[in-house]
Structures are given as structure tokens and as C-alpha cells.
Symmetry: C2
Subunit: 374 residues, 2 copies
Amino acid sequence: MSGSVLTKSAGALYASRLARVRQSMKSQSIDAALLSVGHDLPYLTGYYAMPLERLTMLVVTHDAVAALIVPRLEAPRVTPFDDVFKVVPWGETENPVEIVAKQLGGAKRIAIGDQMWARFLVELMGFVSGVNFVRAVDVVGSMRMAKDVDEIAALQAAGAAADRVATQLQAGEIKLVGRTEAQVSADISARLIAEGHDVVNFAIVAAGENAASPHHHAGSRVIKHDEIVLCDFGGTMNGYCSDITRCVFIGEPSRKITSAYSVLHAAQAAGVAAGVVGATCESVDAAARKVIDDAGFGDFFIHRTGHGIGMEAHEEPYMVSGNKLLIAAGHAFSVEPGIYLPGKWGMRLEDIVVATDAGPLSMNNVDHSLAILN
Amino acid sequence: MSGSVLTKSAGALYASRLARVRQSMKSQSIDAALLSVGHDLPYLTGYYAMPLERLTMLVVTHDAVAALIVPRLEAPRVTPFDDVFKVVPWGETENPVEIVAKQLGGAKRIAIGDQMWARFLVELMGFVSGVNFVRAVDVVGSMRMAKDVDEIAALQAAGAAADRVATQLQAGEIKLVGRTEAQVSADISARLIAEGHDVVNFAIVAAGENAASPHHHAGSRVIKHDEIVLCDFGGTMNGYCSDITRCVFIGEPSRKITSAYSVLHAAQAAGVAAGVVGATCESVDAAARKVIDDAGFGDFFIHRTGHGIGMEAHEEPYMVSGNKLLIAAGHAFSVEPGIYLPGKWGMRLEDIVVATDAGPLSMNNVDHSLAILN
């Protein structure tokens, strides 16, 4: 993992973020926050914990300096910021959960990082009592949602790199016919890295009837003429994620396909246009869904319209019915409606969009039409 | 992820494993087990859940058929085994935690999978009360530890594939001098795949003073003449993991290095020899550590001697002081002592070993000496 793109000194950035976390904790009467694997930890400290059975945890309370409890073995990987947190390495024969419990100072309302391994929470319950646990997304999530200028620049750079791969796909530079989905997925992955990504997070390649399964795992299916190929790929570049979906058709698409794609295209544009500051998240979903519903494909759009994106490929806010959260400047999210005909074909169109005071700003600007290849 | 190597029908295997889980739950008065991301779920159902904000969870109780709560979007990826579990897909606007809570039937003692995202446990606490949570490793862990004949065969195949890459390293076929650690790491990763692995889990390459950090992240450091290079790599093949560490020295090692390596070599052999059925896990650690202690390097062996391995790269049992668990036939674990001189050099030697009634069986059989290259 690489660090994020930063214009101000990292230490000052982390200190100011941590101050805001404590403010948010205070306003919600939260005594302590425990952040382990996942992205809240690097957001606040710059440190990415390995997802290991050996516990890493940042303990944030109001009165003491934040403590990063870390396996002694991993301690050399921590870049220290003395004004932000102290490093507390633990040895192989110590119980790190007990060490965490001791740092809690009698906290009665504790926020827990979303992706912490549940085993550590179960173990912690053996050391504390009468505690009310809440999700740390309530204190860190709203901060992480509203991207600052450096973070938006990082999303733009990652989006531009993904766009270059999508352009190669649309130009026919990525051989499709006769190769398996898995081979094309590997090819796209290599191109994401060549264009500057540090890690590939996924590269879905789904041909023909496989495209009807939105999270299809690229497999041994050989791509043929006269079918649609859905490609949904993204990675992490300088700490921030890309995510794009484009479809190509090899041969001459039927009228059914072209007319469904027109609906999809219009639905995606409507979703993007609805992503304005002050609108609810669910209104983005509703805007895209209405176009698809009106065209009679409503039963075939079987997922939410989008997810937030940033340090994580999927994070808050989610563009889904029922989410009344108001979009704020700096919120970054995907707009990716789809139409899926089981056993026949599927199609999806996805851009990453950042809400700004000047309107929705797209991180992906490559052609939105169904590319026709031969 | 691929399925495991199976000689009996998968459905029958999962059914018998689930029956044993229920037996173990009964003997511990556990009313329900909740298994989400991690490897308990595929061990019992064949299904690998994506680590997503969308909940996937197997609910195991005594009286009802097990229920696999899965996002509707992911449901096509599930291979159903009707005699083992029912699939319960949930839609984008439903609350899956509420669905899980409804399946619990008033359970008061609930076992939680180790790697479940803590957010789901926190959310579940809002739907149940007076519940005592325990770790699911207490019910599934002991089963997963004792590998059956098919699982041992899979570990052997993965170990042999890793050995082939280690042989290439020792034979000087992997260019080292003048390349960065990261380049060599990528080369080793490609070779692991070429030799049959489905996924690379890690490929640590640490040169000179970097080798003194056991979990060093391969970086831009260029490898030079006259230094030690520590390579620790492994992946997953047919659902089971490999993990091996070998060191090479480019040039003529000093007497200090060669004599320290002799100590390491003897320590590793002592650890392997101690890994017999009926011994405690901590005795494996003690056996390796004693050799290093006696030679005066005790302060420089800064981690436990080993970890269990199977579907996961790290799993129970751990070879660490304080672990009184008795080794049983089929237990698979690493034996990997190391000596680390901060700022100077480090060395580690690692094999995977399976305890059998006929004694310790090594999954890695490539030369154990410090390979000298020029």
C-alpha cells in the first residue's frame, strides 16, 4: 500500500483528523474508539495494519494520547508521528486484548471499527462489562466521506488511469475473442498496473450470459463473436481507488441489446445528474432506477445504484433506497445501474462521481456508449 | 479461490463436518454459530464469501437446517448442497442482520467466526439481549486443525510447488543482484503461479539489513553483492496454502553469518523433530528456541516459532510459549525460527510440517543450507 497524496505535512494532517474524531466522539458521548484493520486506521495514522491474527489497534480516548497497539514484529513498519499517537508494541507471549482493555480507562460507550476481526471484540467482552458498543463509522465515516482537495486529486488520477485501460478495451487493443474471461481479466489487471495502479482490486470480465451475474468471477468461459462482454475493474493508486464498468459487443448487436443499452446509458446519466450537493443518496438511486423502470426493465436492475469510494473500493455513502443521508461536497461514489437478463446477457455502466458545489464531477470520462468491435 | 481436493462427494463431506460442529456446540452448550468471511464458512459449505459490506453469514443452530444468508447479488456464486444448508438471499433494501437475528431462535450462547467484520456483531447486539458470545474457533477450529488425508495431500502438493520455486532461487535462476526487492518479489510471485498456485499470499524479499525485520515489505532497495537475501513466500493451491523461507548469500559469507546460520539450521531441525503427536505446541517453540538461546542469540529470535496452516496461511495451532495444546495427528504448522540483528542482517528457515502417527512429515524438502551464489 502506498501513502495518500498529501500537500500538507502528514503529521499535521493526522493530528487534525484525530482532533475532529475526538470532537465527534464528544458530541455523541463516545468514550473511546477502537480502530483495527480497515481504512480508518491509515486515515488517522498513515499505518496500514496487516489482516492478521496478531492484533493491531488504535485506542482513541479523550484524555490520553492515542495508543497504537501493534505486534512487536510489525512495529518497524510504523512511521511514528509523536504528536499524534504513541506506539505500544506487544510481545508474542502477551495478550494484546488485555493491553487494549487497560488503555480504555473505564470507557462505557465504545466505537468499534467496522472491519475489526470479531474475535477481538468477543475477547474484549471478557475484559470489560456494562459497555455499549457502537460502530466507529459514526465518528470516522462522515469525515472520510467528505474528500478534501488532495483526496479528490488522487481519485482523479486513479480514474484517469482506469480510463486509459477502458480506452484500450474500446479500441479493440485488448484481444477478446478466443480468450477466456480469466485471461482477459489478467490482461486488464496488468494494464491497470502498467497505467500506475499499485494494486488491482478486481477485474470482472463476464461474457454473454455470464454478464447477467453482476459479481461474476472471471472463469474458463471462452469469449465468442456476437456477444456482449462486461468489464468492471479497478485498483488502488497512491492510496485511492478507481472503479469503472464498460461493455463492448463483438459483432452486430441485436436491436434488443442496443435499445436496452440506450436505456442504461440514459439511466446512468440521470443518476450522475442527480448526484448534487444537498440531494439524498437515495435520490441518486431513484433517478437512475426511474429511467430503467419506465422502459420496462425494472425487474432486471437487481442492485443498488452505487457505493462510496475513496481509500476503500466500497465505503460510505451508499446510493440505495432508504438512505436519506444528504450528499455533501467531496462525497465520492459510483453510479452504476445495470440490466441483467438471467441466462441471456447483462450490461452495466459505471463512473465514479464526486459531488462538488459546482455540480457532479466525473472521475471517468471515457466514451459511455456500447463499443462495437469485430 | 478454488475448491479443495476431495475424494468423497463434497456434499457428504460438508454434511459430516456440520454434524461434528453441532456435536461440538452441544458439548459446549453453544446454541448457535455464526460464520461469515474467513475460512470456517468454505470449510463447512464450499462457499467463499467476499469480504464485503454486504453481509454473508451461515447460521448454524441445533434444530433448524443451517441457513446461508447471502446478498441476492452473490447468490448465483453459491453451489447449493440441499442436505447441508438452505440459501437465504437478501435484497438491497433489507437489513441482513435482522434476518440473521430471526434465524437465531432465542439462542443465548452464540459462537462468532473469528474474521467476521465486527460491525455485524455490533449491529447484532441491537437485535438480541442477554447473549453470551464466544469464539467459533472453539467449535470449528479443532476440526480444521486436524487435516484429513485429502487435506494433507493438498498441503503436500502446494509445498512441492513452493519447493520448486525455492530450488530455482537456490540454483541462481532468479536474478537478484541489481534488481530491487520488489522486482524479485514479483518474479517469485509469477513463479508460484507458474508452478500451480491459484493465488500468491505473500512474497517477502528482504536484503541485508532489511532481513532483520521479519515482516519486511519488499521495496525499492536494490540487492547487492555480499549480502544475505531472505525470501519467505507462499500461496494457495486447490484451497490449501504453502509457506517456505530460504536464505541465500551472494558472495562469500563472513564466519559470523555462517556460524549463526548453523545455529539456525540446528534450531529449525530441533523444532521439526519436536513436532510429534502428543507434545505441546509450546514444546516445539521451546525446542527451537533452546538451540538459539544456547548459542547466545536468544535476544535476536523475536517471534514465535510457528503458526498453523491449511485453508488459511495462518491458523491454529500456534507454536508459541504458553500454548499447552497437544499436537494431534493431522496438525499442520510452520517451524520457522529466525535470528535478526537490527540494522545488520537477518535469517529465517521455514518448513511446513504435518504431525502424523509416524512422526513429523515435512511438506518442504528443498535443501536447508544457506545457498551461496555469486
